[in-house]
Amino acid sequence: MTEMTYREALRSTLVEEMDRDPRVLLLGEDIGVYQGTFRITEGLLERYGPKRVIDTPISELGFIGAAIGMAMLGLRPVVEVMTWNFSLPAADQILQNAAKVRYFSGGQVSVPLVIRGPNGAGVQLSAQHSQSLESFYGHFPGLRVVAPATPADARGLLRTALRSEDPVIFLEHAALYGIKGPVPEGDDTVPFGQATVVRRGRHVTVVAYSRMLHLALAAADELAREGVECEVLDLRSLRPLDMDTVAESVRRTHRAVVVQEQWPLFGAAAEVAAGIYERCFDDLDAPVERVTGEDVPAPYARNLEKLAFPDEDRIARAVRRVLQ
């Protein structure tokens, strides 16, 4: 094990895979000369040259579409979106081409494409720049959707993504780039569709992913002082969704809280809650609680923003409710 930041985990995996496989190339806005908005691609233009590290114009539709075409012809493009908010002009390309072309071609083409960048909210960027799009992308068959919460998973999932035959929506979180954590040595991978138990506990299962995992862990610390033992699960992948691990835990704890950063309607938390009801209805001692963002566009004012998104207290209160 070595210690590194989430940012360094991403960057080092890109470097290792680019060294290993000449088909891997990078596209994105200001990833080269500017070194990347979040410096994930720092030094890579110098290392690999402009043919493999392509600074694009501000044309998400165009360059994400082009990356899909590159993938169809056998390359392994990695697109950096400056943030996921800017993927929406390219939603047509991602959803209508990348996700489906294997299917409507009867299996004649693959789209081994990774689109990565920061997803989510919480730093006063207001309505257009504070969105968690996992539920949106998670809706579409043909895509893989992952959201690592730790440096180790950032490495393991990115490596799996880079070796995948399918388009991967790789959701990072800006608030996590600086966090440090242990990562295994070597070229370990984390398979898609495997949730992990981050903290063992007997009383309640708390399901989270990405930044929400860290809030859930903080809430679990606080609740531990009250004698409540939370089992905290990190989904890691939204599609495929590992309901087996979730159900296995809920069958032991009989109670569940599901946490999601943003809007409740048709959201990831609703999906997980429904899965729990379908699989463990008879095991439940209380209704499943969802902790989600409020059903409003993200506000700017700090006090309003705090009200709009989940925090540790809200998670702790939800846990106390399911334990009553």
Partner: protein, 331 residues
Amino acid sequence: MQHAEPVTVPVDTLLEWYRTLVFCRRFEEQTERSFRRGKIGGYLHVAIGQEAVPLGFLSALRADDVFFVSYRDHVHTLVRGTDPRAVMAELYGKLGGTCKGKGGSMHLFDVARGNYGGYGIVGGHIPLAVGAAYALRYQGTDRVCLCFFGDGAMNSGALHEAANLAGLWGREGLCPVVFVVENNQYGMGTSVERASAVVELARRFDAYDIPNERCDGMDVVGVYEVARRVVEEVRRTGRPYAVEALTYRFSGHGAADLFQPYRSKQEVERWRQRDPILLLERRLREAGALDDHAVREVEAWAEKRVQEAVSFAESSPEPPPEELYRDVYGA
């Protein structure tokens, strides 16, 4: 319009093209009949009247070149040599179809022949073709990519973002793509004048520093001459090029476009005088290479081949239920 170029196509090839054009026409007419009989579902867009554009352009490609098309993709697929029986079976939603019946009329693919497919979102495939062209150069080959789309697609953002990227990447010799605008004068019922601020569509590529020209899309020989020159230039330079082929669809936009209130019978009649089959037939008759007897033979051959495709499609099995779940993800 570019000046006429010397015809260098041997008569045998012209005869072969004539047979291909007649066959494609009969094939498309058959799909319309099959649609009316409920054998073909969904949307059906035939290219009757426009056949010279795909034939001329695809005849200028090498076997290892690639192309992307809109949903009006039957003729492109046929002239590239895909088995017509598989094309018809795809339209019939059968397992023997090009895509096992899972794509239908709008999504014909034959990757082994460089056919990277038909796409149903207007303009949506244009960025793919630009990326494909980049990939071909990245891989160190001199293969080229053709991208066919309609006049209507000229007004989509996808075209403009893709064209700008092509212009940029082309400066480094990394984007061997030919944009082929199949200007059939209408996007559904909206004429070019009512949709584009600049009606000479080729000129719009000037904005991206992409060389461009217009050509007569009804004369297959003329189309081929332009295509051959352009394709070879793009192959040599790795730079994009755009050709606006002026053509016309004699059928409705799709099978549901019955009344066509947006155009007059006289206008259709005028364009029919320049039917690509008629023009080529005239050329061959003048050269003494075709007579009434030979025309009848070609017609009988084409009709027989179309009926073989129909029989194959009729008897091909439906995709089994397992196919529903296949091809969503790779291994």
